[in-house]
Symmetry: C2
Subunit: 307 residues, 2 copies
Amino acid sequence: MNSSVDWVAVDWGTSNLRAWGIDDTGGIAFAKTSPNGMGKLAREQFAGALTELLADVEGPAGRPISVLICGMAGARQGWLEAPYLQAPTDLRALLDGAVHPEMPDARFRPTILPGVCQKMAGSDNVMRGEETQLLGLAALNPGFSGVVCMPGTHSKWAQLSGTHIERFATAMTGELFEVLRTHSVLRHSLDGDLEGPGRGEGFAVGVQAGLDHPERLLGELFEVRAGSLLSGRQPDWCAGYLSGLLIGSEIGANRVWIGDAEVPLIGSAALCGLYGQALDRIGVRSRLVDATEAVLAGLKAARQFSN
Amino acid sequence: MNSSVDWVAVDWGTSNLRAWGIDDTGGIAFAKTSPNGMGKLAREQFAGALTELLADVEGPAGRPISVLICGMAGARQGWLEAPYLQAPTDLRALLDGAVHPEMPDARFRPTILPGVCQKMAGSDNVMRGEETQLLGLAALNPGFSGVVCMPGTHSKWAQLSGTHIERFATAMTGELFEVLRTHSVLRHSLDGDLEGPGRGEGFAVGVQAGLDHPERLLGELFEVRAGSLLSGRQPDWCAGYLSGLLIGSEIGANRVWIGDAEVPLIGSAALCGLYGQALDRIGVRSRLVDATEAVLAGLKAARQFSN
């Protein structure tokens, strides 16, 4: 099937490559996904991976198809490094910081958006991809000002004011769960069915412990092991406890910053649901913003603001 | 060489098996080490590993040699499970909780000391081996009362009053350093010479960040990655920062408990030196207690108190 489009929006992450064809009314003509994430590709393989994914795509007559890319394709170990914009900054400037990798297939003209960095004493930080979701949130919610949370492998928290990103933080919550589950002594307590009925109860206990005392994380982690040795805690309970402890500690540490206003959660429904439960315990409302919707709105907005 | 001894003291850890022959004056007749730690042995291999290590040892005429063992040999996945004593408890009772595994070689009569557990709401905890070092500390320092720190893969903190252990805590500090260094995104920043001259400077920055804000650990971890991407931090600096951040967070979280009295540090000189630096920054003195000296004193004391 041929797909005729005006331009192509691409979210090129570490694990996956996703592309959407945008027609001249702004509608989505197609959505394609490939496992060719940045983490699996050498520099010289990016152009081919894109051509392969878009092989059957037709663009407007007489000019190449613009392909606007956000995410890890612009990392140092990616296709072509796109230097960071430095926060605080206006995300409408994303396209001004973009780079243009060479493309043997002349049908496509790729552009990679920059990430955003932060250089403050003790708060060096970087993001790639999330800045486009934040611009999308701003475009979908004109006038929004407040704290945004993007749960994930590396959760991001950002202070947004319209299209301005004031500052941001990263928590290695999701990755810490995975490395502890897979490689630490806790793996003995997390070996089995992790999705059983005890998971919710374990989550409730862990998230409260984390919210109450985020400074105790290093100590509370071992509770997973001790709980299974002494109290017969099952793997599902232990997984819920560990997940809750980490998320609770993340939110507890940011308690003052979060304040009382509703927090948009950009991410998957399942993970955002857990963050929503934790925020609910400290009396903070939240709402889910679908990550795909946000990144698409962000890529559209990046194009638009440049014109 | 034959070694004639009164009894044999054994510290059987996860990674190593260490044995000392004790003569009838209490002196050390020999010291032997084998890589046959608990983690490498199936249940039926423990007796053979001990016989192999002690093959040339001769005991007193007419009776088998007592072999007193502390550590992971008594774990559930070890030689024979030695149920935990429950804190608060008097460590002079260790031998009362010991178990006696069967030994095909009748020249030896092994005894495995129990560990200590703690069952409190939200503070389930276990130790195996450290309780013997604590008893050793009590024997070497009669009348000592205070907080003891045992830095390591799983650091232990204990409130000791003479031979009584009142309560204790575990911090997965050492293991977290290892899993993050080896398996997380931080490995990209920790790939190279980790012992270079930047390590000390990175440690100083990290330990202060951890001491000041232990609740920010989940966020500060990512500083390792951002620092190498944005500020050209080298692997030695990053390793020092990560080590300092973890140790600082551990000590910062226990700040109130630690109080102002001198803290004995039981462990290796290098690691205890880092903990000593961190404690020094909060105005707390510390002193090194050699771990081998402590475990030997503990095994001797455990025998003595039972008589």
